[in-house]
């Protein structure tokens, strides 16, 4: 008898995806994370375009992390064309990036992950038992959105950040508000973090893996760098990203796959927090120490709490960052050459994001984008396979939710985190 467990989130990993688990007898034969999301051929669309056009196009790859896409795209262009942005530009980008992390993490942690652990279908149903937490989550999300709106122009696909600088700089009042609110919201996320301590974290999928993240040159915990750090100790310059990613295509997905030295690896908040744990400080470090243990290296569920810790980290950093922005000088930087190649790497909320360009005569000649979910898919399949096998051994019938929760822990793009479960049994 073949049993096929099919979990179809009518939703996306960058669109639509589903998990298929083929079971024969008591053996898991195959696990496939299907990506139905239609192909959008972004690498081809940007060819022949000017940098500013490419930036606008590629930020449309994903709405949830458009800002990261925009930042890595801008970074790639700036490195290709030798553009040296002003200090203020860099700091403002950092602030916008924090905004995105706060928005995305609050949505994922509170509204999508916690309901699972606590046994609710969605955040609205969770409202009754956890009103403060849900309201706090909405507040945090709104704040993150507002930060992006102020600096990037819109909540989604803002056009204000461009190669070399900004369309307009945010006003003093807005900056002041950003700093004030960050201080006010710290207790909210700490309340959210406290919930984690009460949860039982499943262990039926645990296994070792490799992690990768950016490795900021300034020695701080951060989301932008020109170096990649891998948990085996390797440090790669951004331009050599292919040594990490090695993209390939599988028949059941329009999203490509990645392997490092032939093995799956993981990127995302968990990778960042583990690889840069020494660089955490403040309350964020305290909470990390409180919850950290060796299982973090083997269990993707900890990605959720890693996000909450990062969220706290961002809020704590914002007031000082705003001060620095107010003091910094601004100029609009322009390219020093019109041909060349460059790679921009940043951390999207869900992991390492790479944009690579070759520019000729001011226009894009070749482009390559490697997105976090692409890098995580093989690991997602791996963990689901292990979990399915272990759960079957234990004789569990209802295995869809546990499997979904693994996928969801990777925050593959929020819609994937909600789902419609369909079990197809074949005899």
């Amino acid at each position: 008898m073949e049993r096929k467990v099919f979990i179809e989130p009518v939703a996306r990993v960058e669109g639509h995806g589903g998990i298929e688990v083929f079971v024969e007898g008591n053996k898991v034969k195959e696990v496939k994370v299907d990506i139905f999301e239609g192909p959008r051929l972004m690498e081809e669309l940007v060819k022949g375009k000017y940098p500013e056009e490419a930036v606008s196009i590629t930020s449309r790859i994903c709405a949830i992390c458009f800002l990261s896409h925009r930042l890595s795209d801008i970074r790639a262009h700036e490195r290709a064309l030798w553009v040296e942005p002003s200090e203020k530009t860099k700091l403002l980008r950092k602030l916008a990036h924090y905004g995105e992390m706060i928005e995305s993490h609050s949505l994922h942690y509170y509204l999508l992950a916690l309901p699972d652990y606590l046994g609710y279908p969605d955040a609205i149903s969770m409202m009754k038992a956890f009103p403060r937490e849900v309201k706090g989550a909405l507040e945090l999300k709104k704040y993150g959105n507002r930060v992006m709106e102020i600096i990037a122009g819109r909540r989604v696909h803002g056009e204000n950040m461009k190669v070399g600088g900004f369309g307009s700089l945010p006003g003093e009042e807005d900056l002041h508000w950003i700093a004030e609110m960050a201080r006010n919201l710290i207790p909210e996320i700490e309340r959210g973090l406290a919930v984690w301590g009460k949860l039982d974290i499943p262990d039926y999928m645990e296994a070792d893996t490799t992690f990768a993240s950016v490795w900021p040159e300034d020695g701080e915990f951060g989301f932008t760098a020109d170096t990649i750090k891998i948990s085996d100790g390797t440090e790669l310059p951004a331009d050599e990203y292919k040594a990490l990613t090695n993209e390939y295509v599988v028949p059941h997905s329009f999203a490509k796959r990645c392997r490092y030295k032939g093995k799956p690896y993981t990127v995302g908040a968990l990778a960042r927090v583990l690889l840069m744990s020494e660089r955490l400080d403040g309350q964020a470090k305290k909470w990390f120490k409180k919850y950290y243990n060796q299982r973090w290296w083997k269990n993707p569920h900890y990605n959720n709490v890693a996000q909450a810790i990062e969220l706290l980290f961002c809020l704590e950093k914002i007031p000082a960052l705003v001060e620095a922005i107010k003091k910094a000088d601004y100029y609009e930087a322009s390219p020093s050459r019109d041909s060349g190649s460059g790679t921009g790497i940043v951390e999207a909320p869900r992991g390492l994001l790479i944009h690579h360009y070759e520019i000729e005569g001011g226009r894009v000649k070749e482009a390559d984008f490697v997105i976090p979910t692409t890098q995580n898919l093989d690991d997602i399949e791996k963990y689901i396979r292990i979990a399915a096998q272990n759960l079957l051994d234990k004789g569990e019938q209802e295995i869809e939710l546990p499997l979904e929760m693994i996928m969801r822990a990777y925050d593959p793009c929020i819609s994937c985190s909600v789902h419609m479960v369909r079990v197809v049994r074949r005899t």
């Binding site: 669109g15 022949g48 709405a63 909405l138 056009e159």
Partner: protein
Amino acid sequence: MKKPKIGIYGLTGCAGDQLNILNCEDELLKLFDIFEIKSFVMASSAADEEASLDVAFVEGSVSTEKDLEDLKEIRKKSKILVAMGHCAVFGGVQSMFVGEDWDKMYRKVYGKKRAVTLTKPLPPKPLAAYVKVDAVLPGCPIEKEPFLKLAGLLAKGVIPRHPDFPVCAECKWKENECLLLRGEMCMGPLTNSGCGAICPSLGIPCIGCWGPIEKENWEAEAFLLRERGFSVEDIVNRFAIFGGMERADKLRKFLEAKEE
């Protein structure tokens, strides 16, 4: 009055429109209160796909056979179908004119034609290429205010119409100096209003993300931009980005006519 039953769906796109619905933090609970939400997979796992709907909001372009099946399914069970966002209304950036045929592009990215066997990919098209669409809300992404207005009227049983005027009108309401006069490549005159002229108000030329306005005078805009020193290639590229499927055809003809 009975609560209208609605569903919110996504085909191929970036999910930005659904996300911007979730971004209506202050109004979200109200929305859940006014409508009976039968399916909104991005926000809730409680979905009832059997129910018939008063209104279906569909985001994304039709880019695979599965998209097409889903869309037909949604059309069948819904009284009113709203195309939401640039992808659904015009086809999205993925349907832009790039001067080569789509199959060729596809092979370049995926190596070979049948590299992915899951479902057959289709050249991306807007919903109206396949089914009847009752109302549109363009935008890449849609904005909160226009969405709430649209949803509000739908809740009252009225099918809203998108205004017929371009971004420039809103740009003037915001008291901006026209960027075209500064020699910038602003797409305002060819672009649907609704965003509130966000970009020109920030000093950034509009890239046209609300899609081409009906009966746009793009010949005049092209003439103007050439006078300002832009090349035909520059202009075609810029027009293409958010031009969607229909403008892609116009651009092809335009270039062919040039060559003759």
